[in-house]
């Protein structure tokens, strides 16, 4: 009995056990609180929350197939997503309608209107437009000429095929004044004719845009040089231009409650898994925010885990990357006003793959891909390994190397964590500054920052030259990651790894790695495990993971996305 009692640990051990429990409970509670807190405003949630779905129904997201309006059909104009007030139909009385429109939007300085008589009809009419959104020449010469001297009411109102009679590429009837005003302000040309109880919208907006250019954030040596632009219709057309075929489907959504924008889901309808598509559609239709400035807004509101440092949707500027992802069975989300498309679901291996891998021959591609995995590992772990090896286990590295490193560290007055932090933080600042600087100044700052400061820091004895090598290799490694946002993730995690290493040495570094693995295996992007095909293990998908197998062997689409049609070639 006494021998058993002997083994009961001290009170201090019980105290430690209690502390371990309490801290675990507190951290657990905090995590769940934080998770619930950030989840509240998101588009995804537990299904069955009636309040959320009811609200989004009221927001009235309209959905339409882009190609739905066939030739000849009178395209029924869909007013934007949200009626700002009660619908106010046109009264039919020209004077009062004109006055109402001028009263509500006439104060805008860029708003233009002109009243004119229609010669053949002998009626008054008014044309509204916004500065800069219409080609003035067409407006003046063709539209006005036609309207003033040629148009008859029969032509304007031919019930069956107005497109045949009217020389406009688009003509929509708008029965409601609110929608009419919104469309005019968005850039349509609006027409109001005496005695007609609705407004016409003629001509699509034609605002200034930028020329299509090479994607800035994802440069390639070999491959298409085309990048997305800010105009949604240009972007969708780039996807269509990739090849003939009818199975690429694009569905339009209206998002944003105050300023409404177009959002397009693109996918191959005979490849994509229907359950995945339903999930994405569900989340997109529940988007509830007043303005979507960039596809990042969409990404953050539909992702599964807000607290994770890893992105769960991939952004890209490259149409070829999008189309390749679609062919794997993924779904693309394109938003008007941004050149960045989102690809969902994203998996970890995607972040380290470049479209070039498929364009080059398989051997160099495979080796480059392995190199990128190595670089990602170094970008994540190199400083942590440095700290743990130098501060804790110099005995584990070859003796001569250890001696020479320790000699160079002789004059350094700081522990290795502080030493690494000094250099790492200054490198991060340099990078951040380099992005903001105008192009001609950038290289100059690189020289001042990188070379001069690095050299001077060593001369001054603040850091050791070996560390400069480590930090420089780390920084360069993180540049080699093809997705910029994935590089940021690794940069954040690198600092976490350094802290672990500073506290517990190699043991802490391993713990950090294991925690990272645990987190990654728990993470899902739209139901797809993030680290598949490593785990869950899918051997057939390994052909396109660390190596890129010869194209002749890639007969199947990735099994992880459970596509409807999984053969690329028989």
């Amino acid at each position: 009995m006494s021998s058993i009692l002997e083994y009961i640990p001290d009170w201090s051990v019980f105290g430690q056990a209690l502390a371990a429990l309490l801290i675990a409970i507190v951290v657990n509670r905090l995590y769940h609180k934080a998770d619930a807190f950030v989840r509240r405003g998101k588009a995804i949630g537990k299904s069955g929350k009636s309040g959320k779905s009811g609200k989004s129904d009221k927001a009235g997201h309209s959905r339409s197939v882009l190609a739905a309006s066939g030739p000849g059909a009178f395209p029924k104009f869909e007013p934007g997503a949200v009626p700002e007030s009660e619908p106010e139909p046109f009264s039919g009385d020209y004077e009062s309608d004109l006055q109402a429109i001028l009263d509500s939007i006439g104060r805008n300085s860029d708003f233009r209107f002109r009243t004119f008589p229609m010669a053949k009809l002998n009626r008054q009419a008014a044309l509204f437009w916004v500065d800069g959104m219409q080609n003035d020449r067409i407006l003046n010469l063709q539209l006005m000429q036609f309207l003033m001297f040629e148009a008859t009411i029969e032509a304007m109102e031919a019930p069956i095929s107005p497109g045949d009679v009217l020389p406009f590429e688009s003509l929509a009837r708008c029965p409601e004044r609110g929608g009419f005003k919104r469309c005019v302000l968005f850039g349509h040309a609006g027409l109001l004719i005496e005695g007609v109880p609705y407004g016409f919208l003629i001509q699509f907006p034609d605002a200034a845009g930028r020329a299509v250019a090479e994607p800035v954030s994802e440069a390639l040596l070999r491959g298409p040089r085309l990048g997305f632009s800010e105009v949604l219709s240009e972007n969708t057309s780039m996807l269509r231009r990739q090849g003939f075929g009818t199975s690429l489907e694009m569905i339009n959504y209206k998002v944003g409650t105050r300023l409404t924008k177009d959002l397009v889901l693109a996918y191959f309808k005979d490849i994509v898994n229907p359950d995945l598509l339903r999930d994405v559609e569900d989340r997109v239709s529940k988007l509830d925010f007043d303005f979507f400035g960039e596809s990042g807004y969409v990404e953050q509101l539909i992702e599964d885990n807000t607290l994770s440092p890893f992105q769960q949707a991939q952004n890209t500027e490259r149409p070829d990357r999008v189309i390749n992802a679609l062919l794997e069975g993924r779904i693309a989300i394109l938003l008007d006003g941004t050149p960045f498309a989102l690809i969902v679901p994203a998996t970890f291996s995607m972040l380290l793959q470049s479209p070039e891998d498929y364009y080059e021959r398989w051997l160099p591609s495979s080796l480059l891909r392995l190199l990128r995995f190595l670089a990602a590992f170094m970008a994540l772990m190199a400083p942590a390994l440095y700290i743990s090896l130098i501060s804790f286990h110099p005995g584990l590295i070859p003796t001569e190397l250890a001696i020479s490193i320790i000699e160079t560290r002789q004059g350094v007055p700081f522990p290795s964590l502080i030493e690494v932090l000094i250099l790492e933080v200054s490198i991060e600042i340099l990078r951040e500054a380099g992005i903001r600087l105008p192009k001609p100044v950038g290289p100059a700052m690189g020289i001042v920052g990188g070379l001069i400061i690095g050299d001077a820091a060593v001369q001054a004895g603040i850091v050791s030259p070996f560390l400069v090598i480590v930090v420089a290799v780390t920084a360069i490694s993180s540049f080699s990651i093809p997705t910029y946002s994935a590089g940021i993730t690794l940069r954040i995690l690198r600092f976490a790894g350094m802290l672990f290493a500073a506290i517990l040495g190699m043991f802490g570094t391993i713990l950090f790695f294991l925690l990272l693995c645990s987190h990654l295996t728990k993470l899902k992007s739209f139901g797809v495990p993030y680290v598949t095909p490593i785990s869950p293990f899918r051997i057939q998908d390994w052909k396109d993971l660390f190596i890129r197998a010869p194209l002749s062997l890639m007969k199947r689409r990735p099994a992880m996305l459970k596509p409807r049609d999984n053969t690329r070639r028989p």
Binding site: A17, A20, H393, K522
Partner: protein
């Protein structure tokens, strides 16, 4: 079905799960434990015999589990033996899992303190490790199995590499004479060799989590065959490389073997560093298995929510790990665990199967 909602694992995940559960501290200590008991170089024979015995045991456990699809031992023991005896059996098993978890984490702490972090207080190693384990285990069996799938190939690679490089020290004479003292020492070592397979009891619950339980026999035998082969390899290389005299006097013979040579011209001259790294990761997996099993058992026996039990287990496992006072106590605890696993084996699979058979026969006779 696109999104998986059931918490099931595939057969390959089950294989890795069992392998990672069995492959634990034993890989560092096992050559010494067995050789000390036998005092002859025939330890590899013992591992062979022990492995065969354990395979039979596993076969029995799988067959028993397959009678109750989707149910773990904590649930079907109550069906077979009645609520209270079944509950007591389950509690015994849970206690066993907790003590194994404590033992594994304590061995890890001892090794870490000895080789990596001298002078660090024990709690600073044990508690973060338990926390990290709790984070993983809270994801359920699927997350655990996935981490195992990541760690397992790394472990195997480094382990095989270390052994391959240590081949230069291998001397076949160290393993001779075969059966120099006849069979009795082999039988004496059998008890210790069963200890290294401690943990194979997870089969009792693992079958319930398999997506295709009909493949369980193949998966479980495959899962035990991998550690079986690795242990055999370990004991052959360690005894062959170090000779039984130095194996018996060293606390961690496998590390000593790897430390005893240098690979010149390589970035890390001694492979002990990568070996330590993968061994730590392996211990994490190993520990998480027992952590998961014991929490699962408690939550199923007392019908408590799993996350709450999981948090409650944190201090319990910490205390279990802190019970041994010295390294000798840790090894003593290891021996006790070996004995306990024998007792549990008699109690749970054998007795439950017998009771089940009797009841089934009775039902057929009466029905």
């Amino acid at each position: 079905m696109f999104v998986r909602t059931d918490d099931k694992i595939t057969s390959s995940q089950a294989v890795v799960f069992l392998t990672n559960t069995v492959l634990g501290a034993g890989i560092l200590t096992m050559p010494r434990g067995i050789t000390q008991a036998m005092k002859t170089p025939d330890s590899w024979l013992t591992i062979l015999v022990g492995g065969m015995v354990v395979m039979l045991v596993i076969l029995l456990m799988v067959k028993l589990g397959q009678q109750f699809p989707g149910k773990t031992v904590f649930q079907y023991s109550a069906i077979i033996a009645g609520r209270i005896p079944g509950g007591l059996l389950s509690l015994l098993l849970i206690g066993y899992f907790i003590s194994v978890a404590g033992f594994e984490i304590r061995s890890l702490a001892e090794v870490t303190l000895f080789f990596l972090l001298e002078g660090t207080p024990m709690w600073a190693i044990v508690i973060p490790f338990i926390w990290a384990g709790a984070y993983l285990v809270s994801g359920g069996i699927n997350s655990i199995a996935r981490v195992y799938q990541i760690v397992f190939p790394i472990t195997i690679f480094v382990l095989l590499l270390s052994f391959a490089v240590s081949f230069r020290l291998f001397d076949i004479d160290n393993l001779r004479p075969v059966l120099g003292s006849g069979l009795p020492p082999v039988m004496k070592g059998l008890k210790s060799s069963i200890l290294v397979y401690a943990g194979c009891e997870v089969v009792l619950t693992l079958v319930a989590f398999m997506q295709y339980p009909q493949q369980a026999v193949k998966a479980m035998l495959g899962g035990i065959a991998i550690p079986f082969g690795l242990y055999l390899l370990t004991v052959v290389f360690v005894v062959g490389g170090l000779s039984i005299d130095s194996v018996m006097t060293s606390a961690w013979p496998t590390i000593d073997l790897i430390r005893s040579f240098e690979v010149t011209g390589f970035f890390v001259e001694r492979l002990e560093f990568p070996l330590m790294v993968v061994w730590l990761m392996q211990m994490f997996c190993n520990f998480c298995s027992f952590f998961f099993q014991s929490s699962l058992g408690l939550s199923q026996v007392f019908k408590l929510p799993f996350p709450a039990v999981l948090l409650g287990m944190v201090p319990v496992i910490y205390l279990a790990a802190m019970v041994p006072k010295s390294l000798e106590d840790v090894f003593g605890l290891g021996d006790e665990i070996g004995k306990m696993s024998l007792v549990l084996f008699m109690l749970i699979p054998v007795m439950l199967s017998l009771v089940w058979l009797v009841r089934k026969k009775g039902r057929i006779a009466h029905g």
